[in-house]
Amino acid sequence: MTLKPKISLGIGILSIFVLAVNPVWGQEGKTTAPAQAPASPPTKPSENLPDAPSSSKTAPSLSDLGFSPEETEANARQQALLDKRTHMLKIHQRMGLITTIPLVATVVTSMNAGGRNTSSASRDLHVALGSVTGDLYGITAYYAIRAPRMQGTETRGQIRLHKTLAWIHGPGMILTPILGAMAFNQKNNGEKVHGIASAHGPVAIVTAGAFGAALLSVSVKF
């Protein structure tokens, strides 16, 4: 078995392990059961506090303030949806951080994968790491795409940049391996990389840059 299938097999096993630990995929399509009832009613205030409020007849109540029922009533279904959304986005975050490792390694090994004096072993390593990166990227993207959307919410803040950058690194992660495969075949045939295949490097750099910027956009404030 050559190196690439071994790596892919390893990643497949790793993915299964990750999913086993976080069985959201298995529950895809189901909504978590809504809470049977809200949490236990708030406890009564301590009577030791001299100025603590008491439930006297003159005390105002929530109904006096004029909030609408939609603002005051519990919505267990929406809470379950929020819980699912947060869970999936946490996996998205975790997988995104994991993906960074083989991505950086792929970029590093690209220096020995092209050019005139390169061995097939160097190219194979670059291909294998690129494959791992692609697999993990796909898993990362899945959890972001499939996380529930909250209706009526307008996207604001740095998250807008994070979502916009996906339109760069998303197509890039598809195009890069395609161009890479073309370049790989040309090199294996003893040819100099030419034509559209020569765009593999620049496309990969732009993709990696967009990926890094996307990670920073949700990590630091700017």
């Binding site: 809470a35 809200p38 949490a39 236990s40 708030p42 406890t43 205030p45 301590s46 506090l49 001299p50 100025d51 603590a52 409020p53 008491s54 006297s56 003159t58 005390a59 105002p60 109540s61 929530l62 006096d64 303030l65 004029g66 909030f67 603002e71 005051t72 009533e73 519990a74 919505n75 267990a76 929406q78 809470q79 949806l81 929020l82 819980d83 959304r85 947060t86 986005l89 951080l97 909250m150 919410t153 307008e154 996207t155 604001r156 803040g157 740095q158 998250i159 949700v218 990590s219 630091v220 404030k221």
Partner: protein, 179 residues
């Protein structure tokens, strides 16, 4: 007879004046929570609080309530996560109750015992200092409530495996009008 009727009417009117409860209404408010993380800090602001105070026998009971979803930190993703982690869909309102002497309105500062209901939990805060300033008929109150995540049993959110700080002080600025 007309004099007796007039006297009775006056006595009743005076009695009504002294028996009437004085009320306060929240005219304007700014509530700001502060969350700290090693990478950056965040403030979430709400102007949607409503409040009412009822005074009786020299003592006033206040209720202030604000919907959890009205807090805006500038990032919609962060706000949604905040609602989720504070169980804001199950417990949509933050309510604050306190009792103050009616004479407190004339003071420059006051210390209040607060009962806060948030995220399905109730927490008590003793002797929280507030500053008061009277402008015309309005009374402006400002102060900071030393709230923490653990007081309300909220799991600290984390970013890049690092959790936020437990302290989430809430800055309160309110303008009250007597009714």
């Amino acid at each position: 007879m007309p004099k007796r009727k007039l006297a009775a009417f006056l006595l009743l009117a005076i009695a009504n004046v002294f028996a009437a409860d004085r009320q306060w209404a929240l005219k304007q408010s700014t509530l700001t929570y502060h969350v700290s993380h090693p990478l950056h800090s965040t403030d979430g602001v709400s102007h949607a609080a409503r409040g009412k105070g009822v005074c009786h026998d020299g003592e006033c009971e206040f209720l202030i309530a604000v919907p959890v979803k009205t807090f805006d930190s500038g990032d919609s993703n962060r706000d949604l996560h905040m609602i989720q982690v504070t169980r804001g869909a199950e417990f949509p309102m933050v309510t604050v109750r306190t009792r103050l002497p009616e004479t407190a309105a004339a003071s420059a500062s006051v210390k209040a015992d607060l009962e806060i209901q948030f995220a399905g939990q109730t927490a008590q805060y003793k002797q929280v200092p507030f500053q008061l300033a009277t402008q015309g008929s309005e009374t402006r109150i400002s102060g900071t409530i030393p709230a923490t995540l653990s007081d309300f049993k909220i799991d600290p959110p984390s970013l890049l495996t690092m959790p936020v700080k437990n302290d989430i002080p809430v800055r309160v600025e309110m303008t009250w009008d007597p009714q």
